[in-house]
Symmetry: C2
Subunit: 167 residues, 2 copies
DNA sequence: TTTAGGCTGTTATGTTGTAACATGGATGGG
DNA sequence: CCCATCCATGTTACAACATAACAGCCTAAA
C-alpha cells in the first residue's frame, strides 16, 4: 500500500488524487453516483490517513454545508465501504480510506494507539488460508473477516514510555 | 477448545462448571474477588455459547435482582475480559466466554450470522506469524490483536436463508 | 477502631447508529 | 412533453452501546 510519512504535506499529495480518481472511474464504470457528499467524505478519509468516526466526519460536512444529520454521514460511509473505497475499523467504530481500492483483498489493519494512524496491509494469502482452515475444521463458511491489531507505530514508539509486547 | 453442539443440553454440561471452576481458582490464586455478579455474568456467557450484549446481560441481572444500571454489567464484563475469562467481540459490541481461560492465547472468532453463535478457535499462527510479519515490516509493535470472521455455521448453513438468532 | 481499598448503587450524560418518512432531481418510456 | 421510477438527500425521532462521577458499604489489615 501507499504510506505517507508526513501528514502536513499529505493533503496535497498524489495519495488523495489517486484515491479520488480511482473512485471516480470505478463509479463511472459501474454507473454509480459519486456525489459531492461521497467525494468529500472520501477526501477527508484520504487526507487524514487515520480512522475517523462518523460524527467526526459529520462535523466536517456541517462546516462545509454538506449535511447536518447522522444519516448523511452514515449513508456516504456505507456507500464507500460497500464499494470498497473505505473500511470500517470495528475496534474503533470508525472508518478509514482503503489502501487498495478496486482490488479485492483481505486487509489487515495496524492501528497506532497514540497517533491513531491506521496502516492497511494485505496479509491476504496467509490470513485467508489459516482462517479458511480454522473455519473449515469448525464447519464455518466465512463471508467476511476482520483482522485488526492495535499497537504503537514507529514514530510513536520512540516518543515515550512503553516498549510494549506482541499479542 | 470445547465445542457444544446442542444448546438445549448445554446448560447442564461440564462446560459451565469448568469455566466457573477455572475462574474461581484463578481468582483465589490471584486474590481477586469472584463476586456474585461476576460469577453470574460468566455463567450466562458460558451457558449461551454465543455473544451477549451488555444490555442483554443487564436484563438478566435485573431479573435476578443483581443490578439495574449499565455500569453493573459493564464492570463485571470488564473484570472478566481483563482477567481472560471472556472476550469482547468488536464486530458485535458483545461479549463471549473465553474458551481457554488461564492460557494466554491469540483467539480467532468465528461468528455465525444467523444464530449468533461464536466459536473461539486458536489460530495462533494468524496472530503471531502473519500479524507479526505485517507489523514488523510496518514498524509496528503490536499490543493486542483481533481476528473476527463472520459467516455461517454448519447447523445454519443447511437452513438456507431465514431463521435468525437464538435467545 | 480506624482506615484504605475494592465492589456495588445511582444519576446523568455521552457516543454511535438507524428506522421511517418526506423532498427533490435526473432519466427514460410513453 | 409528462409522468413514473429510481436514487440521493433532508429531517425527525429514537435505539443501542458506553462511561464519568460520586455515594455508600463491606471487609481486611494496621
Amino acid at each position: 500500500m501507499t504510506v505517507q510519512a508526513d501528514p502536513d504535506t499529505h493533503e496535497q499529495t498524489a495519495c488523495v488524487a489517486q484515491g479520488i480518481a480511482a473512485a471516480e472511474s470505478y463509479c463511472l464504470d459501474h454507473k454509480l453516483q459519486f456525489t459531492a457528499v461521497r467525494r468529500r467524505v472520501l477526501e477527508h478519509l484520504l487526507v487524514e490517513h487515520r480512522a475517523l468516526g462518523a460524527y467526526e466526519i459529520l462535523d466536517r460536512l456541517r462546516e462545509e454545508g454538506l449535511g447536518k444529520q447522522p444519516p448523511i454521514a452514515y449513508r456516504a460511509l456505507d456507500f464507500l465501504v460497500e464499494h470498497g473505497f473505505a473500511h470500517r475499523i470495528e475496534r474503533l467504530n470508525a472508518f478509514v480510506a482503503c489502501g487498495s481500492p478496486g482490488r479485492s483483498h483481505s486487509p489487515v489493519f495496524l492501528i497506532c494507539r497514540k497517533c491513531k494512524r491506521v496502516v492497511e496491509t494485505t496479509a491476504a494469502v496467509v490470513a485467508d488460508k489459516v482462517l479458511g482452515e480454522a473455519a473449515k475444521s469448525n464447519g464455518f463458511a466465512i463471508h467476511n473477516a476482520v483482522v485488526e491489531a492495535e499497537g504503537t507505530c514507529t514514530t510513536c514508539v520512540s516518543d515515550t514510555d512503553l516498549p510494549e509486547k506482541a499479542t
